[in-house]
Symmetry: C2
Subunit: 428 residues, 2 copies
């Protein structure tokens, strides 16, 4: 379904059918655009449970907040798209000032390119020869396509060079040396001496071009503000040392320094503000992704805005609605949402509200606790005061945006009054 204007898929023309759980059976055959235009009500408009709702207002709020935050702190922003894998959200992130979109794996970059994203930061070393062949063709076909990825080993540089030569790549691939956040953190070069060796390897091949340094602080063991700050200072120091040594090509016109997930962007902003003047302008690239939906668990607790409330607050945008299918005793209830529908890797869902099947009224989920998930059921413990019957809908808050989005291929976007105004397509 190409959009004739630009060749990218036209998501509004996707057909609503059995592929998309929770969408109204009586909307079968409509396009997604037509269904959105009907402005149905989430509760009475024919949606089935379980259904995941994304708050229109909260997403807009979060998009604006990080746009403002990045601007205020002089940061360029490449939000991590692996969180949502939703081109419609990428488009809005770009409208809200984003420089480009970050990816974790080449497949994600393919999805981005299919939807017209022109700047991609891949936060990994890319050593898959097939993916490199694809990348070389994309770069050569579109001079406006900017792509940057990590390198973190001499062997990786060899593999990239081999594959890009075999593919007959005309344009070099821009790379940044990844400095590991901690000696047992995730990927990345452990020491500055090894970083120099990797940079030497890059300099020795015509297929790559060193454009900066980067890393990710989010998986640092025992991370706290002090350790993150210390690592960021090392990263900035590495950029300065590489610059001094003339390792960055002046023809690129800028030096990329990138860090920042969704837990430490305040510290990133603080340290990146102190980057000394280098021989070229510095693209200070923040890559947070979870902010777009925020959550009711991991990021509620860990967002930097808890430390800097004067700069704003993100809003949790997801609510998962599931229906009570069994109420066998006064102490237990079971709804029809399980591991297939709810993030469960970091925390269990949190019962927040109940929509009464008899009256349609929504009340707080008092005395109701989610104690477990099966594949297709939530296990609820109900206290003496809990008012809950078979047929009622339970609205749940979830933890970890990345594992919420990936359980839904088409997500209703809902305004505060329950009106479904859009549907977000994901590509996992």
């Amino acid at each position: 379904m190409p959009d004739p204007a630009n060749g990218t898929p036209d998501l509004a023309n996707e057909r609503v059918d059995h592929r998309f759980k929770a969408l109204p059976p009586d909307a079968e055959g409509l396009t997604v655009g037509e269904l959105s235009a009907q402005r149905r009500n989430l509760f009475t408009g024919g949606f089935t449970t379980p259904v995941l709702a994304l708050s229109a207002e909260s997403v807009e709020h979060n998009l604006r907040l990080l746009e403002t935050y990045a601007e205020r702190h002089g940061l360029a922003f490449a939000p991590h798209g692996k969180t949502s894998m939703a081109p419609q959200l990428f488009e809005r992130q770009l409208e809200h000032g984003a420089w480009g979109i970050t990816a974790a794996v080449p497949h994600q970059a393919r999805v981005y390119r299919a939807h017209g994203i022109s700047r991609i930061f891949l936060g990994n070393e890319l050593v898959d020869a097939v993916a490199l062949r694809w990348l070389a063709a994309e770069l050569d076909a579109d001079p406006d396509f900017r792509f940057i990825c990590y390198v973190d080993s001499v062997r990786g540089v060899e593999l990239m060079d081999e594959a890009l030569r075999a593919a007959g790549a005309a344009r070099p691939v821009d790379v940044v040396v990844e400095l590991a956040a901690g000696s047992t953190g995730r990927t990345g070069v452990r020491t500055e001496a090894e970083c120099a060796a990797v940079a030497d390897a890059v300099a020795a091949v015509p297929t790559l071009r060193l454009v900066g340094v980067a890393g990710y602080e989010g998986t640092m063991p025992g991370a706290d503000a002090e350790r993150v700050r210390e690592w960021l200072h090392r990263l900035v120091g590495l950029a300065a040392a590489f610059d001094k040594a003339g390792r960055f090509d002046p023809a690129v016109g800028e030096i990329v320094v990138s860090a920042g997930g969704s837990e430490w962007f305040d510290t990133v902003a603080e340290v990146f503000a102190e980057i000394p003047e280098l021989s070229l302008p510095v693209l200070k690239l923040l890559r947070s992704g979870a902010y777009v939906s925020h959550d009711d668990g991991q990021y509620r607790t860990r967002t930097p805005f808890n430390r800097i409330p004067e700069e704003g607050a993100l809003q949790p945008a997801f609510r998962l609605w599931s229906q009570v299918v069994s109420r066998p005793t006064a102490e237990q209830a079971f709804t029809n949402a399980g591991k297939r529908d709810a993030a469960h890797d970091l925390h269990l869902p949190e019962a927040q509200v109940v929509r009464d099947a008899r009256t349609g009224e929504i009340r707080p989920a008092e005395g109701i606790t989610v104690t477990g998930l099966s594949d297709q059921h939530a296990w609820l413990a109900t206290g003496p005061g809990a008012d809950l019957e078979v047929g009622d809908w339970v609205g749940m808050g979830l933890s970890h945006p990345c594992t919420i989005f990936d359980k839904w291929q088409l997500i209703p976007v809902v305004e505060a009054d329950g009106t479904v105004v859009d549907h977000i397509r994901t590509f996992f």
Copy 2:
């Protein structure tokens, strides 16, 4: 893409594109059928990592084994389709003698109907008015469509009746009373007295028809063979008592007695063999689902075939291939498969083999242990003897079929020599 022969979607005509991770970028635009016909090699045919492979031989073996098992023990078989959500596998399960396919939620039944499944057992109470309206229309449009679901509460019966009346349903919906496996197990009526009350409620409404009793032993707290046997005896006793009380409609022509996931089907077979003669023939319906792929974790440990090796052995059919993208120290390596690609709810993946990037040779993954998963990375600990470099592929065994299938929308089916002979489409 309807198949002109029967109106069901023609999965072989689905286009290969960016929607399907791991599929060859240079296959873009081919149909799935055309790609399968090319019989590419998984390792050299342009697939990108991470890629999940389903063994053609092991799936065929498992399909045959459960077919034989059910036949030998006089069981009808409605394998749980929620495991794979793969109509191509459903078709093969039916070819291998299955009576029908089990579902957990109405959305799954919608997928089944879109792909021509004519007998569906829904292992839950169905109280969603929208889904009941859809169901009534399906039943009324197709006299050959057989549908059975649980009831486990008087309130549930009321809600079903209300919704089916409102939908103007012409055919009654067949229901079975669900007897809970244990007083704190999952859904289901806790006592025989309450079961009779639910059956009374069913008898009082024209929109439902009581056709049997059922339950699920897999979530019984502290389940062991003795407790499962005891519960199965209660279930059979309930069927006999209901039959004696004339609760089953003779016009149905059979009485449904159903239980059995993938951990206790030996005990189900044993107890169901002793079902006394009732007033009608008994459809003894087993519902195991995980057997189709089996696994290298949960079901490797828990399969009944461990207790009855003389009846055969299932084969784990999945292998997840991911690529080493970072090897920062002698003790650590990181591959590009994470929570988005691998089941992680019950156990971590198990590193089984390494495919050497230099030679293409496959060797045992000696000294390599998966210690954690990020969203898009696996964390590997490597011992002194581990032979692993950036670029190598690591083949992993996984645990829990239900959360393996649901991370992949199109899964290559691979023969032992690496030839990809088919692609399985899933609908989650």
